[in-house]
Subunit: 570 residues, 2 copies
């Protein structure tokens, strides 16, 4: 990779800029092909980012990338070009902005809708400290639906500061953008502007748009103008880009190429596909069933459900809180809502899980995908807190399937469970026969006369437990293995009757507040000894799931050592 400096970008002619963009685009495409990553969103914003680097002086000026799915060009243009081939690899550079990685990254992102709030905070601090630099929030039209955006716009007058908001409008979140806010942007694009401009102006923004964000002849003068206006007013610069720009198969399938896995992934069953299949089958015979998603129809496996049951399928945009309340409200009327969402994004709806769903004890099922360590997306996407943030919520049942078949069984059993239910599962796993399941009952997978029982929750942990058991059993050190498939309610009957003294717990979650603590609470002051394995109390960066799990607390070797030492003690 030739390293392109900011100085080059600032002095280049437009044809040279186009050449630079082609180089950057190729670098992104080639790297993502090997490393995986966010492809279409980054391909679409190459020109826009180059133009921003030309117009502004980073790192003195500050730019916040909302979500961060479009920061690769910025990384290549700041100080990470030489390391770009390590993208998303363990120990390599992150796929998201990271303050610790570079002074060019002023604010870490990963979840949607924070950029304008963050820009306002940075700008206000600048004013208070008597400094004078520019602050830019780059935000997609998908994020613009999120409530945080309006909370931030609401305080523009209050904070009395100046920021540049660049709306990167490509008509997509991960799914196509939907809803009234998007319609407003759409009217602006269609030239039916006055009322829509007035909306932004009422919040205190000078509206500028719309510009073709893949065309320097429009972008460069627009940014110059925006920079001037920014001296006296906050600006909303409305830019249209084409997701996947430059690579026709990305342009034509922006949802499928939003996030790309490195070539040669494992051939496992996606839990999301199973979710879609089960919900369709259930909905066929049960008119109460509705499915809700916050802008991730495909990734959550709901495309077919949306096709077959459009009147009972709702993509409400990146509005995780609203989706929860909507589910709760539908449930008050006898519907059975299934809300599919990634583990870390559900954190956004934490209050609504408590206040709306569990407070009213309503039969909403949270289908929590990408639970546990997810890997390459890093800190903001590791689903390692959900067992902790759900376990203390009254009225909530928490299920953790050991494989795809059990997940299907849980979904089927859940239909008759007239109370809030959370099912958390990883991206992919093993397909298996669907056996009937009783809510709240664990399962003994392997029974022994040894004095050791391992309680493992979820596919990663069951698989690790089985691996450890195979290896220690070969050496004559076997143990009982329990599929701890319900964290709540705990299976008191099974736990009370476990004869073993040594109880080892495994969970794909931080140790604090999860399964280990629940089991230890159950056995408190008994003769049992409890050994908990899960993740340490720290944020887990990007890397390979298996390696990260091993490194951060689910260590096969440590487990084997424990078994050996327990056998040695007799």
């Amino acid at each position: 990779m030739t390293i392109i400096t900011d100085a080059e970008v600032k002095t280049a002619s437009v044809p040279q800029l186009k050449e630079i963009c082609e180089k950057l685009r190729k670098e992104i495409f080639d790297t993502v092909s090997v490393c995986g990553g966010h492809l279409s969103s980054n391909l679409g914003t190459v020109e826009l980012t180059v133009a921003l680097h030309r117009a502004f002086d980073f790192p003195r000026d500050k730019i916040i990338f909302d979500v961060g799915h479009q920061c690769y060009t910025h990384k290549l243009l700041s100080d990470r070009a030489a390391r770009f081939s390590t993208l998303r690899q363990e120990g390599g550079i992150s796929g998201f902005p990271k303050r610790q990685e570079s002074e060019y990254d002023c604010y870490d992102t990963g979840h949607a809708g924070t950029a304008i709030s963050a820009a306002l905070g940075i700008a206000k601090a600048r004013d208070l400290q008597g400094e004078d630099f520019n602050v830019i929030a780059l935000i997609g039209d998908g994020s613009f639906n999120n409530g945080l955006v309006f909370e931030a716009l609401n305080s523009l007058h209050i904070l009395n500061t100046r920021v540049l908001i660049v709306v990167n409008d490509n008509g997509m979140s991960i799914s196509p953008t939907v809803g009234g806010t998007h319609d407003i942007l759409g009217e602006l694009k269609a030239g039916m502007k006055p009322e829509s401009i007035a909306l932004f102006e009422q919040y205190g923004l000078t509206y500028m748009g719309v510009y073709n964000g893949n065309d320097f002849s429009e972008l460069l003068p627009a940014l110059d103008e925006a920079k001037k206006t920014l001296k006296t007013s906050s600006v909303l610069l409305h830019v249209i880009t084409r997701k996947g720009q430059g690579y026709p198969f990305c342009e034509n399938a922006p949802e499928a190429t939003h996030g790309v896995s490195p070539q040669g992934g494992e051939a496992q069953k996606e839990y999301s596909a199973a979710l879609g299949e089960e919900l369709c089958a259930l909905a066929e015979h049960d008119k109460r069933i509705v499915a809700v998603t916050a802008a991730m129809t495909d990734s959550l496996g709901l495309r077919e459900f949306f096709r077959r049951f459009p009147e009972r399928a709702f993509d409400v945009g990146i509005c995780e809180e609203h989706a929860s309340v909507l589910c709760a409200a539908m449930a008050t009327q006898g519907m059975r809502p299934y809300y599919a969402i990634y583990s870390t994004f559900l954190q956004r709806a934490f209050d609504e899980i408590i206040h709306d769903v569990c407070g009213q004890e309503l039969p909403v099922t949270f289908c929590i995908d990408r639970a546990g360590i997810t890997g390459a997306d890093g800190e903001t996407h590791q689903g390692v807190f959900d067992l902790s943030y759900l376990s203390f919520i009254p009225n909530l049942t928490i299920a953790i399937p050991k494989d795809v078949g059990e997940f299907r069984a849980m979904l089927r059993a859940g239909v008759r469970w007239n109370a809030p239910l959370a099912i958390r599962y990883p991206r992919a796993g093993v397909e298996s026969p669907v056996l009937p399941i009783e809510i709240g009952k664990m399962e003994i997978l392997h029974s022994t006369m040894s004095d050791i029982t391992m309680l493992a929750a979820g596919e990663r942990c069951i698989s690790l437990a089985e691996e450890v058991r195979r290896r220690t059993a070969e050496r004559g050190m076997d143990f009982t293995l329990v599929n701890a498939r319900f964290l709540k309610p705990l299976d008191g009957e099974l736990l009370e009757n476990l004869p073993q003294k040594h109880i080892i717990t495994l969970e794909d979650n931080v140790k604090i507040g999860g399964l280990g603590d629940a089991i230890a609470r159950f056995y408190r002051n008994s003769e049992k000894k409890i050994y908990s394995f899960g993740y340490d109390d720290a944020f887990i960066p990007h890397g390979t799931p298996r390696s990260l799990a091993e490194k951060h607390g689910l260590s096969r070797e440590a487990l084997e050592d424990l078994i050996i030492s327990l056998y040695a003690r007799g």
Copy 2:
């Protein structure tokens, strides 16, 4: 109380309606004077609620009261007039809408901004079930700032259903309403309407307004018209009411009379007052300090700070998420933000605590007021989850002062603590000398040779522990008492050196995921026996704090029995 029926309301003449309102208003005022409750907000909405009961058929039609600070008239007009004198009393009726209390309450509220989402969910379920009733969301202009509102508006087109949104505009949250959204409502009130109307129309609403919500001659025809329009379109009906209407001292002090305590409360120091005093003193010498609140300046003790340091004081409206991101962003630039908020409302910013503040390890201090059981507001306002939802977040320090003096010391020590800090405290407590404190160090309050140590966290628990100790010591059964003032980091040095075998923990929080679990984790597989006291795994309804605490897990008698039984065992 004469019971006023819906039939009367529907057939009364306007002069009769006014008489009905005077009766209702007197009943509300008299009851709140005795029971405490939300006064000004309820006084302001008497006419509006009466008019809604006249225009619609409850419970067939459904009404959702956003937050619920304005539902008293509805309770009096539905089926709770005879029980109204039990308002907010233990075992009596709730101060908020409660489905379990009456079929006239279709959706429980308590936190801001859920009503439109909930109305949409109920309306959509109605459509799917082929039913035909009206759904109304009654929401104040203060709540209208909340991000959830825009998430809900965004999905009006998507859901393709019809609801009536009544905006009760009294210019207030608990504090005066602020921000751009409020300015838009303000322009509508001032008659500068076209752009603002267009905003709502772009989201799919027919705008009707503004009407005087305390005047039947405007209200009755407006509601008739809205009801007609609702057959073909969702409607936003903009109504102006006067908070405190009818009681001049309420009208003149709507913030002070928003929530009223029963006559003859305890004379304790408010923690919020101490917060204000300390922050002012610190800010005097430290220009990095800023204070942020989400629409509760006075209740959180920040009025004087806002007066003295207006450039460093930010009320961003009911936007808990935005406030957190703003704090994180200011902290990236070297500022030291203090974000004061009630415990249950901070649940709204859960993801931002993780993603923005702790993920970036920024020195933001969360001043978490109304932690622990708060009493009369019931389920949605009991601050009994914060220790659980904070304890597993990496990089966060969690402090629990035992009295007001210690709270002051924590705030002072916190200024030099270059990392995220959460301090959780109840409404009021004992003033005491300010002694220097070291972050992360617990304090031995009373040392004995007995085999029992009690670790108590926070004022309610320390006070209970001392009471128990006084009583058991009189009978010769003393124990060591530790002020467990930091849940995180745990004071390993002190805990390792505690000689006692029996460790009792007390916390003003649910037992799952709090102090008891942390201490048990620390001592796991040691010879120690751990006995945890805190609240059971259930939502705690309204009542007297002391009685609720006793009933739900912090029982003095149970503690004494435990001490006695431990002594008996020798």
